[in-house]
Symmetry: C2
Subunit: 141 residues, 2 copies
DNA sequence: ATTTAAAATTGTAATGATTACAATTTTATT
DNA sequence: AATAAAATTGTAATCATTACAATTTTAAAT
């Protein structure tokens, strides 16, 4: 069993949220698709296995998980939201050529600045955009 | 005349983009509304003065400015895009209570990490969310 | 085992920001 | 004045997300 799966299901139990079939499948999808899937990508992924799955259920489940801080919402794109099972501090790089979103290590947990003294910081996101290594190499051929 | 207005109009001239009435008014709006306005907010702001202004024109103008790197696109929210006339490196804090978006100083220009070596970084954004000082004070009364 | 109420899921319709696009107007050039 | 290119407008289309009522599933109570 995936370690994050265990972690999240424990938290759900603790908050008395049922470990329904749908929720567990959506969670599994997030654990094994680390490419920051959209709702639609999750839907397509699960559709073969669960043809009756509704997109509304995916939205509901993701909202539930996000409210408990068990997943992270990624607004690096303007049109659609992406979801990340990794909640520990890290940065994101979006390639504007191939669309991939890469993780990179960066610890923002203790970032502080005078200008925000007196503010309660609850979420920190670092987003980069550009062209990934592979796409740069493909350009010169 | 606002210094950023001068700067941007010069750049537009340089790129042979006409300094039309609409474009200049939208630009002026961005210079004096530093609250990271949405398309709708710009529209409402200018509607009294220019009742015939079309939202499409606002979208077109903002796209033009963004393509030239003269304004910055802010995707801190999931549903709507915000625009920022300040293109120099700085971070954003969104208050989840009052909705305001604050700037804070942070220089990401020279941020580097091994994981992104070989990547071409073209945009860097640091977004925080939480509760602003004023909203925190209002809570305890 | 039945009954019952709460929770979860589904499907459809509504919302709302953004885009596409054709028609019209404005601007610069000849 | 004629012409072509650029800019603007308004409407319709797109598409992700949300609202919501109907249905199904689950857990607890009898
Ligand atoms: Mn990530
Ligand atoms: Mn700003
Ligand atoms: Zn790429
Ligand atoms: Zn506030």
């Amino acid at each position: 069993m995936h370690p994050r799966y265990a972690l999240v299901t424990n938290q759900l139990k603790k908050h008395q949220i049922r470990l329904s079939d749908r929720r567990l499948k959506i969670l599994e999808c997030l654990c094994y698709n680390l490419e920051h899937p959209t709702v639609d990508q999750i839907y397509v992924n699960l559709h073969k296995e669960i043809p009756t799955l509704s997109k509304t259920t995916i939205y509901n489940t993701l909202h539930t998980l996000a409210e408990l801080g068990l997943i992270r919402i990624i607004n690096i794109e303007d049109n659609k939201t992406r979801y990340d099972i990794i909640t520990e501090s890290h940065g994101h790089f979006k390639c504007q050529t191939c669309g991939s979103i890469f993780n990179f290590e960066v610890d923002l947990k203790f970032f502080a600045t005078d200008e925000l003294s007196g503010f309660k910081i609850m979420e920190r996101n670092l987003y980069f955009k550009g062209i990934c290594q592979e796409c740069l190499l493909n350009k010169n051929d």
